[in-house]
Every structure is written in C-alpha cells, then in structure tokens.
C-alpha cells in the first residue's frame, strides 16, 4: 500500500510541472530542446558543486557536528551561487543561439521570444532540481516502513514533496524574473532573485520543523509568482479581463482553425 504514498508524493511534487510540460512544452520541439538544455545546465552546476563539496569535506575532515553544519551551510550557499551563475551562462548562450536561429529561420520574426525562453529554461532548472532533491526520498517512500521510529515527524514524505513543488515553481519564477532583469539590465532584480534563492535554501535548515520552512517558502513563492506574472506582461486589467471572459479574441481564437 505504500505505493500510494509514492504515487501521491510524486504527483504532489511533479504534478504542476507535468501539466506545464504537457500543455505548453510538449507540442513545440524547440521549447522541448531548450527545456532539456536547461536541465542539463542545472546538472552541470550540480556536478561542479559536488566536486567542491567533495574537496571541502576532505579538507574539513573533522567529525564534529558544528564543523559539519558549517560545511553544509557553505555547500548550500556555494551551490546556490553556482546555479545562478549557470542560469546566467544559459541566458548568454540562448541569446547567441537566438541570433543564430533568426538567421536560419525562414520567417521574419524570431521563432521563440526571450520571455518564452525564460519560462522554458526556468522549468528545465526546476524539474531537474526537483528530481534530484526528491528521488532518493521517493525510493524510500515505497516502504514498507515510514519515518518516525526515532521520533521524527511522520509527515516527512508529504512535506518533502510539497517543498519540492515549491522549488520547481520557484525555479520557473526565478527564471522569468532573472532573464527579464538581464534583458533590461535591472541588477537589483537579479540580486533579489539570488537572495530569495539563498533564503529558501537556508530555510530548509529549519527542518524538521516543517511549518517553519514550508510556510515562508510558500509565501516567497507567492511573491515571486506575482512578480513573475507582472514581469511576463500580466497586469490586473488583463487578469480582470480574463476572469470575466470579456475578451473577444479568446472566442475568436477558439474558432480559428489551428
């Protein structure tokens, strides 16, 4: 029966990402390519931070708890910075690729906009980091046992899944804001993205007080989501229009043969 926990947690963590992939990515090959490339860039950043971690542990070498904790904090901060560096590198690469794409494209316009790219690459980063943070936990959720014999919270699996969900979505939002900030050279926005990333990662040190890490993480996610919504061109007016279904284009678009 613990397969139920496995499936449940997988769906909680990756359900939204799956929905996004199915609805927005799967149909368009170019987006798919950029999604996978985004995942690859995240993986390279993980590889590098693992190497640094490996060296740091060898040097740190001591077994005391405080040294370990400091090492962990160092590892997390370093890894966050590295990820953002790779996001920037990916942005630079995409800009170059975009130029190339325009030249070979038959149409006048660029086949994919920077905004779309930011969303796709963010999703790529999110999915890959989500998979890496949850996959070990998921294998153990298959059972037969559940966490708690040492007095830990039995909500461990569900809490981990929800945290992964937040991180997947946050990566999308960070991607959108980050690329936009690079485009418009708004360095303060870039700094805010990195800071919030550090903050969310730091919050996980509060575990196993899951409320302590989950609630602030979700608040940050909401804020980032709103910001990303406006960055992507959303506005209250549009939202109102949308919700009240007062838009003729929408009806027209549906009638138009695709």
């Amino acid at each position: 029966m613990t397969a139920a926990v496995f499936i449940g947690c997988s769906l909680i963590a990756f359900g939204p990402a799956l929905a996004l992939c199915v609805c927005t990515i799967a149909a368009e090959p170019l987006r798919l390519v950029f999604l996978i490339a985004g995942g690859f860039f995240w993986l390279v950043s993980l590889l590098l931070s693992s190497l640094v971690w490996f060296i740091a542990v060898q040097i740190g070498g001591s077994n005391s708890a405080s040294v370990k904790r400091n090492l962990l904090i160092f590892g997390v901060v370093f890894s966050v910075l590295l990820q953002e560096v790779f996001r920037f590198a990916y942005y630079k690469l995409l800009k170059k690729a975009n130029k190339g794409l325009t030249t070979i494209s038959q149409e006048e316009t660029i086949p994919i906009s920077v905004r779309q790219l930011s969303y796709v690459s963010g999703l790529g980063f999110g999915i890959m980091s989500g998979i890496f943070s949850l996959v070990n936990i998921l294998t153990d959720s298959l059972g037969p046992g559940t966490v708690g014999i040492y007095g830990d919270s039995p909500q461990y699996f569900v809490a981990s899944a929800f945290m992964t969900l937040a991180i997947v979505l946050l990566h999308i939002f960070w991607g959108i804001v980050f690329f936009d900030a690079c485009e418009k050279k708004k360095w303060w926005a870039l700094a805010l993205v990195i800071l919030s990333h550090l903050l969310v990662s730091g919050l996980t040190f509060l575990n196993p007080q899951y409320e302590g890490s989950l609630v602030p993480s979700y608040i940050i996610m909401m804020l980032m989501g709103t910001w990303a919504f406006f960055t992507a061109g959303g506005s209250l007016r549009n939202l109102k229009l949308c919700l009240m279904c007062r838009d003729k284009d929408f009806l027209l678009a549906n009638q138009r043969p695709r």
């Binding site: 449940g8 359900g15 939204p16 927005t24 370093f78 037969p144 959303g234 229009l241 549906n254």
Partner: protein, 712 residues
C-alpha cells in the same frame, strides 16, 4: 540544487552523519560511481536487528524442514507474547493482521508453534532467548534422534528399532524437524529485544481497551530459501544448473565437513596398515544443532564428550613406552553425527572401499564417549549392543572391554555401571560401525535410559547446562585456567578412559600414573564453550588462521562450508596435546617432504604461532609433529549420487541470498490514501489551470502596447 539539497540535508540533520553521506551519495550518483544504498533516509526509517539467528531450511531425502519468508521478506505488526493469553490478540482479536510475534523463550513450545503455524494471521516470529534457561527443559530435536540411520532395523534387533525399547530424548518436541512457512528468528541480544519491546509499548499497546492507532511498530524478516521439497529435487536442480548453465545458481548444498583423527602410534597414511595390526577406536561427535542456524552450543551433547576424549588422548600420549604397546589406538572425532551420522557413515564407507589406511578388519574394539557431563552421583553407564553379543566371541571381547573399564575406575572417583544387557545402544557413531561389522564395543554415557540432558540439540545446551560456574571478577586469563567442578569430573572420566585404553592396547604397566589433567580440561571447556579467542588457542593455531577465533559463543554446527571452526580447533588442540615440538625451521616445517627425514610419511607437521612472550609483543612460533589428520565427512549418498538414500544421510541446506531483520513504523492506510488523493487533486488542478492560462495567455500576458505579440 542547493534548495533541494539543502532541504534534504536539513531534514537529515537529526540523523547525525546522515547529511554528509547523503550529499556524498548524491555526488556518487552524479559521478556515476554507482547507486547508493542504505542512505540516511533509510536510516531514519529502519532499525536493523544485527544480533539475530534465522531458522533456515534443511532438506533430506523426503522432507523439507525449517522456515522461510517470501522473496521480499515478511512484514507484520509486532505483538509481544509473554504469556499464553497474549496469543488471543494475535490469533483472533487484533485488528491489524498479519502479526509478527515476539515470543518469550519460555513459550516456544510445540503446542503454541502448531497453533501459530495453522493461522494465517501470523507473518513471522521472533523468539527472545530466555534467561535463565527454562527449568522444564527444552529440546527441539526428535524424541528418537537419528531414527532409521542407526543399526537397529527390521533386520537387526527389530524390537529395538525406532526407539521402541527406550525413548532416548523424551523432552524432544521435534520443532526443529517441522516445516514452517513463515520466518522465525532468534533474538540473541537482550538489548535489541528491549528496543523492539519499547517500540511495541510506544506504538502498539492497546490502551484501555481501545484499538492502538497508527503509526504502528512493525517488523520485517528476510529469509527466503532457494530450495524446496527435498534433497532429491534440489540436488537435481543444482546438478542441472551446473551441467548446463555458465553461471550456475545452485539451490542447496550437502552438509559436510571433516572428521579429525589421529593415532597413538604413527601410521603411514599413503598405504594400508598391516592386516594383522589391531586398532582400538575411541570416538566422539563434535557437532550439534538447534532450531536456529549456526546456533549449536552443544555443551553436553558434544563439547563435554570431545573434551574428555581430548584429555584422555593427552593423558595416554604422556605415558612412557606407549609407542611400544601391541595395539594401536585411534582417536576419532566425527563431524555431522547429529544429521544421521554423516562423519561415521563416511568413515565406514571409506574403510569398506579401501580409501582409509585402517580397514574394518583391523578394528579390535570400539569405545565411544557419548554425553558424559551430567552424571548422577558420578555413575558412568556402559551401554552395549545386545544383538551382536549373541555371538559368543564378541560377547567375550565386550566382557574384556568392560573389565578393563571397571578395573580403571577402581581408583578413580567414577562408578562404572553396566546397563542391563537387553537394552539397545543409545544414538551413537558406534552403531554405524556395527551396521557394517560385528565389532565389540561400548558406549559410555551419563544416562541409563533416557538422556540426562534436558536441552539436547537446543540453544540452551550451554556451559550453564553442564553446571560450569566461574567465581565473579576473574580476568579472562584467570577464567581460562580456573578449574571448575565440571572440569574435574570430566578429567576423572578421561582418566578412566585413558587407563582402560592403555590396558586394552596391551599395556601391562601400572596405570595409576595415567592421569588426565583437569587444567587442560578447563582450558578446553573455556575455549569450546565460552570464548575461542583465548591466549591458549591463540598460541596453538597457525598464524593465518587467526580469523577462527572470536569473542562470541562458539557454535558447533556442521554447515556446508568446508572446515568449520570447531573441526580446525579440535585438530589444533589434538595436535598440541598429543604432538611433540620438533626443532624445525619454518621452511622445513611447511615443506617436510623436502627434508631428509625418514618419518615424514608418518607425521603431520604444523607451524603454529606460539604464545606471546611476557615481556615482548612478538610470538615465538614453533613446529609441532603429530599424527592428527582430517578425513572427509561428507555423506556417501552424495558421493554415490543417491539423493534419495535411506541408508546414508541426505541432509542438505538450502541456499539463500538475504537474511536480515529490521523494525520500523507503518503508516495508516488512511494517511496513505489521503496522500494519493492530494497528489491526484494537485495534478488535475494544475492541468486545468495550465490549460486555462495557456488558452488565455495572449490576454493575460499582453501589455496594452504589444497585444498578443509574445504569447506563450
């Protein structure tokens, strides 16, 4: 990554070392160094039980016995059964079947086990060893041990067959010879038992009448066995595998090991001894068994008798002029006797087929030491075979044997008494020799009819059973040399045996000088019953065999691996007690065939590591010359490929991959279903939301300036 890794690291903080290992595990995953098992999350979920002994499946020509779990281990909610009433919860009342029963050792009886066996609400059993040992006695062996493989049958003393005359082991409940379809483990460590009980009390105890709530404490036992049905089936499967498969996966192995033997006067093992030579065989068994795998302390059933035998061998070797006695004496230690006489049947088979330097015709007489430690008012009973004594010449020879024994016991503190002539022999290796030839012989035992041993073939047949008591506060070194009353009484038996043997071998000198050393007996008892890793054993073994010695209780199960610890230790102890130190260099000792030594064919040379010097850390190794040899103790049934044999032992042990036990908590079904439902809800919700947003993207994400230009 950091968000995710940080999350997991944070979660693992309580696990102590967990975080680092996890991170490193992650790194290894990334670097492709392989997949990481036993990570920190697993350590948060499971408590492995390390000090356990499983019950495994053994097979013979017709049956399978023992236990097994399903392929992925059997899981059940723990219920502690400390008294008979607790069983009702498991069998009928409890709302969370199947149950894993934690049974108090005292309740491990046949009646209760058959009740559990018949219930589908039991998924497994963990038995806590009971301390002190149960007073009412406990023997999982058969009432009639080795029935059908001894000498008595329809053709030979039919009235004695199947223990019709005497039930040797009336306490035997035959549990070890039952087949259970669930796993059964022995919990050897009281601390681990306490951990399980604590978990049970914290989570599973029904509180004032109400049903205990999830999460519940559960246990999982892995003991999946590869072999089924019987030896015929499993050996056929194994041989098919070895014949046709490049990567054979055998399913069972025959129980086999080596017998240890030596002779008083050296003989040339590369040829037969002279037809006219007469040999007196002294025999004991060196193996035992219990319900659980490799739990076979066998203090009374094996150790006390072979220790006595070793002490007698030492005493005889010390007698001056013993090499000139008219008859030779052969000291034999049979392995696997518990399992239908594996060792002795093989030796008889080898003798019959001229594969052994001694022939059956060379045997002058046979003296076997059965269980001897629990004597009532120091009476030692002499058992003889009534059927072969119908032959007059054999009867006379048995009389001579008896006289020699009674003469020797005169001055010792042992009273020898003859069992009345109409009683058959107890289970003994001698029966296998009798089966082949009418040989005069006796079996010495501490029991007249049924066994004195109330823990025959059980995990309680320990030093405690043979009343070995040490005063408190002794150092290991002092304990090793402390002469217990048990050691004294066994030394007396050894003295009687040695004197009798001297007379039987034709010695005419004064026997009162022959005396077994109680101190040697104590050292051997300590080594074979309490701790093999003692200074004496260390000093008498080869240097590369240090791994034999351990601090845990020594076990004397025959097993399927060649040369178990007991066999090797008996070999080295015998070599030490009966051999002589020769002035050889290491090279000469290890390769005696290269030296110009005329006696090299007659002796075996062993380079032992010697004892530690008092004032230095190095050892002084030396070379021991002895006549101690090993001979195969594998049932002839496997040699002849007669896997369904009723003549020879056919015991095999199943193979297995994974034997372990662990406890953990299981979550309620409701919580699991809720998780699943939440997951599905989130998926559906996000599908709907995404579809909606995607369809309206051009409205949502359009600034008034560039309507619909960069829609997603």
């Amino acid at each position: 990554m950091a968000a995710g890794a940080g999350w997991r690291m944070g979660a693992a903080e309580r696990g102590g070392r967990g975080a680092e290992t996890l991170f490193r595990g992650l790194l290894f995953c990334v670097l492709g160094c392989g997949f990481c098992w036993g990570n920190s999350i697993e350590r948060k979920i499971y408590i492995p039980l390390n000090k356990t002994a499983p019950c495994v499946r053994l097979l013979n020509a017709t049956h399978q016995i023992g236990c097994q779990s399903s392929m992925n281990g059997d899981t059940g909610v723990i219920h502690v059964v400390e008294k008979d009433q607790d069983l009702k919860w498991v069998l009928t009342d409890g709302p969370h079947p199947p149950y894993m029963v934690l049974l108090e050792g005292g309740l491990f009886t046949r009646e209760l086990m058959l009740q559990l066996k018949g219930s589908s609400r039991v998924s497994g059993l963990a038995v806590a060893i009971s301390k002190p040992i149960p007073a009412q006695g406990f023997s999982p062996g058969l009432k009639c041990p080795n029935d059908g493989f001894g000498v008595y049958s329809n053709d030979y003393g039919p009235q004695y067959a199947h223990c019709n005359w005497t039930m040797w082991n009336p306490l035997g409940n035959g549990l070890a010879y039952e087949d259970f379809n669930f796993p059964i483990f022995l919990l050897e460590d009281a601390n681990e038992t306490q951990v399980i009980k604590q978990c049970y009390q914290d989570h599973n105890l029904p509180q004032n009448g109400s049903v205990p709530e999830y999460p519940l404490c559960a246990m999982q036992l892995f003991a999946h066995m590869h072999a089924v049905t019987n030896t015929v089936t499993c050996m056929r499967r194994s041989s098919l595998q070895t014949a046709f498969s490049l990567n054979p996966e055998e399913v069972c192995d025959a129980l086999s090991d080596y017998n240890v033997w030596s002779t008083l006067k050296p003989i040339n093992t590369s040829s037969k001894i002279d037809l006219m030579d007469e040999v007196i065989i002294v025999a004991t068994r060196i193996d035992s068994h219990s319900f659980f795998w490799n739990v076979a302390p066998g203090a009374e059933s094996a150790v006390s008798s072979f220790v006595t035998h070793l002490a007698a061998a030492e005493a005889l070797h010390k007698v001056p002029g013993v090499q000139t006695l008219p008859r030779n004496i052969m000291f034999t230690f049979f392995q696997g006797e518990t399992f239908d006489y594996i060792g002795s049947s093989r030796m008889v088979y080898d003798m019959e087929n001229d594969k052994f330097p001694v022939r059956l015709d060379n045997i002058h007489s046979f003296l076997e030491l059965s269980q001897v430690a629990l004597r009532n008012s120091s009476v030692l009973w002499v058992h003889t075979d009534p059927v072969s004594q119908r032959n007059e010449s054999i009867q006379t020879q048995v009389k001579t044997l008896l006289e020699a024994l009674i003469n020797s016991s005169m001055s010792a503190n042992v009273t020898l008494q003859e069992v009345r002539q109409s009683q058959p022999l107890p289970p003994s290796s001698f029966q296998r020799f009798l089966k082949a030839r009418g040989i005069p012989g006796v079996v010495l035992a501490d029991h007249r009819t049924s066994f004195q041993n109330r823990y025959y073939q059980s995990m309680y047949d320990t030093a405690e059973n043979i009343l070995m008591k040490y005063p408190e506060g002794l150092s290991p070194e002092e304990t090793l040399d402390y002469v217990t009353d048990t050691a004294k009484s066994l030394a007396e038996v050894a003295t009687v045996v040695a004197r009798a043997l001297y007379q039987l071998a034709g010695g005419t000198g004064n026997t009162s000088a022959i005396q077994a050393d109680p101190r040697t007996v104590s050292r051997m008892l300590y080594g074979f019953l309490i701790k093999t890793n003692n200074s004496w054993f260390q000093s008498i073994i080869k240097q590369d065999l240090k791994g034999l010695l351990g601090d845990e209780l020594p076990q004397h199960y025959i097993a399927v691996t060649t040369l178990v610890n007991t066999t090797q230790l008996v070999q080295y102890v015998l070599a030490n007690l009966t051999g002589t130190v020769v002035n050889f260099t290491k090279e000469e000792c290890l390769n005696p065939e290269k030296t110009p030594n005329p006696e090299k064919e007659m002796y075996v040379y062993t380079w032992v590591q010697g004892s530690r010097d008092a004032n230095s850390t190095s050892r002084v190794p030396f070379c021991v010359q002895s006549t101690v040899r090993l001979t195969k103790a594998a049932s002839p049934a496997f040699e002849l490929k007669q896997w369904g044999s009723t003549e020879y032992s056919t015991w095999t042990e199943s193979r297995w991959k994974d034997i372990r036990a662990r406890i953990f908590l299981v979550a309620s079904k409701e919580l699991e279903i809720i998780t699943l439902v939440v997951g599905i809800a989130i998926l559906i919700l996000s599908l709907l939301a995404t579809y909606f947003i995607n369809a309206k993207a051009h409205v949502l994400f359009s600034s008034p300036g560039d309507a619909g230009a960069v829609a997603y």
